[in-house]
């Protein structure tokens, strides 16, 4: 290098990628590129600004991600609390379901309902608890919605089935909310969950009809058919997306068909009480 003129010394110093020995030094790595080593220096000022800001960044990067971790851990804890409550809701629902299954065994409906209703209060308490847990972070109902969605759909289906056994009519969304002690302003019942729950309830009806007829209640298919036809017609008022609810609704027609078949079987054999006035469906359990 000694033959270099002083004017080039600087250049040689900065462009020491031209000297082989210096490439052994890892620090010079950035200058190693053979073709344009010198040209890189056009950027020298911006590069240095760049490096200085980079020097600060790791700590501020850490800071932000630490904050994220804390935030996400908090939401994880909340989710755990939600899941605890939801699993309790799930087991209450299971109890109610087990109780309601007795209607298929011709137990008197009022007795069955009585027993199931006592469980509803437990459920109500659990939903209140859930609302309190979720209430801690307003506006985030739907962030955690997935955690109680399917359980709530089952709850709705139980409630709707009970309501139907009792009154012969459909439990409305508002009524379902009231039964669970929810109000839509802070912790409500999602309409789509409600509708899905109603679809689940319809799945229960074919079996109910079959068992009622076996037990000798020949008027039951007519009542169920009327209800289910109405329900199916009502559902067709909705413009559904291609989602889970749509799928469940599509399944409803099989329930309807099954009930129609039962009704047909009963009618063709002359088992229906002909021309009889509609029996109050509230009393159907006693019939």
């Amino acid at each position: 290098m000694q033959y270099l003129k002083p004017a080039f010394r600087n250049a040689a110093f900065y462009g020491h990628s031209f000297s082989r020995s210096s490439t052994l030094n890892p620090i010079s790595l950035i200058l190693v590129f053979p073709f344009r080593g010198i040209q890189t220096f056009r950027l020298a000022p911006s590069v240095s600004r760049f490096s200085s800001s980079m020097a600060v960044s790791p700590s501020s990067l850490d800071k932000q991600f630490d904050a994220f971790r804390v935030q996400l851990e908090e939401s994880g804890t909340l989710r755990d609390r939600i899941r605890t409550v939801v699993s309790e809701i799930e087991s209450s629902t299971r109890l109610i379901y087990a109780t309601l299954l007795l209607v298929h065994q011709s137990r008197p409906t009022p007795d069955v309902l009585e027993k199931a209703r006592s469980q509803i209060n437990v459920l109500k308490k659990q939903y209140k608890q859930l609302a309190e847990v979720v209430g801690g972070c307003p506006g985030q109902y739907y962030r955690y919605h997935g955690d109680w969605r399917s359980e709530t759909q089952s709850v709705v289906s139980m409630l709707a089935f009970m309501h139907w056994l009792e009154t012969g009519s459909l439990l409305e969304h508002k009524e379902a909310e009231e039964k669970l002690g929810l109000n839509s302003s802070d912790f409500g019942l999602d309409v789509e969950d409600y509708l899905t729950g109603v679809c689940f309830m319809s799945n229960e009806l074919p079996r109910y009809v079959v068992n009622r007829v076996t037990a000798g209640d020949y008027d039951c298919p007519r009542k169920v058919l009327k209800f289910l036809t109405d329900l199916h017609a009502a559902f067709r008022m909705l413009n559904l997306r291609n989602d889970f609810l749509r799928k469940k609704f599509d399944g409803m027609k099989y329930d309807l068909r099954k009930v129609e078949e039962v009704y047909y079987d009963v009618k063709i054999r002359g088992l229906t009480p002909n021309g009889e006035s509609i029996v109050d469906q509230g009393n159907q359990g006693q019939s």
């Binding site: 980079m54 851990e73 989710r79 007519r222 009704y263």
Partner: protein, 271 residues
């Protein structure tokens, strides 16, 4: 209106159906049931319309954020400043024109309810914003800083749209893919130092995210992103390695066989 006409035809068909299938006592749908379902139909229609509008707005955000990213990739070592300035300007335009549409549609519980409808757009936007930010300052643009720029889009009276941590992290995860492309481009342009910076930066992001991912809500999506990210980081590292190794081989050749190139470089020195 639409719901009503649909309802009308349904009642008729159901009436017919009931007559043919059930006894003559059957009539049209229970009026209370019909009222209730009219309300549900209205609710669902509104919700679906809104979701559709948000999906559209999100798509616009995605498309235009991509353009910003491409603009950044257009940089070469000579026009860096101009290219980044242009990209930033484009990004501001995306914010004003398309993000504002999203902000208009979303408020309150919608942020989480309809997140799936707008999340892809937001992620792409975060990617574009952080990409610009890195090229300009060499640091990761923070979530708070992005959110600050969104504040002016919404009416101060309503709760403003704030990008949530999850979408931000998903966007940052995508950023490494772009960084990889940028690094390769910089290497072939001879900006080795810059490529090294990118490499360090991408590694930092990967490291930070590794710690955060297990706490994320639906980490399955993020886990695949982490795998892709590691691939990107390794690609950058391998590229740097290749240049490092082959570059050292090539130098003596340059020095001995082609001294003129050295002289060609001289006028470029600005010291």
């Amino acid at each position: 209106m639409f719901a009503f006409t649909v309802a009308g035809t349904n009642i008729q068909s159901s009436r017919k159906r009931v007559r043919t299938m059930a006894t003559a006592t059957a009539t049209s749908i229970d009026p209370s049931m019909k009222d209730a379902f009219t309300r549900y139909a209205e609710y669902l229609n509104d919700l679906n319309d809104k979701r559709e509008r948000i999906v559209k707005a999100s798509r616009d955000v995605t498309m235009n954020s991509k353009k910003v990213i491409f603009q950044v990739h257009r940089m070469s070592k000579y026009n860096k400043v101009e290219v980044i300035e242009k990209a930033e300007k484009d990004l501001v335009a995306v914010t004003d024109q398309y993000m504002s549409q999203l902000v208009k549609e979303l408020q309150g519980t919608d942020f989480w309810k309809l997140r799936r409808a707008y999340s892809p757009g937001i992620q792409e936007y975060v990617e574009a914003a952080t990409f610009c930010g890195f090229c300009k300052n060499g640091t990761l643009l923070k979530l708070d800083e992005i959110n600050k720029t969104l504040l002016r889009l919404s009416d101060p009276s309503i709760e403003p749209l704030q990008i949530n941590v999850l979408d931000y992290l998903l966007g940052v995860a995508d950023l490494t893919g772009e960084l990889m492309r940028l690094a390769i481009g910089r290497i072939s342009d001879g900006e080795l130092e810059f490529a090294e910076k990118i490499c360090t930066f991408a590694r930092d992001i990967y490291r930070e995210l590794t710690l955060v991912v297990p706490h994320m809500d639906d980490s399955s999506d993020m886990k695949t992103k982490m795998d892709v990210m590691l691939q990107s980081v390794m690609k950058i590292e391998n590229a740097c390695f290749s240049v490092h190794v082959r570059g050292s081989e090539y130098i003596p050749l340059l020095g001995s066989n082609d001294p003129s190139s050295f002289l060609v470089g001289v006028p470029d020195i600005e010291i």
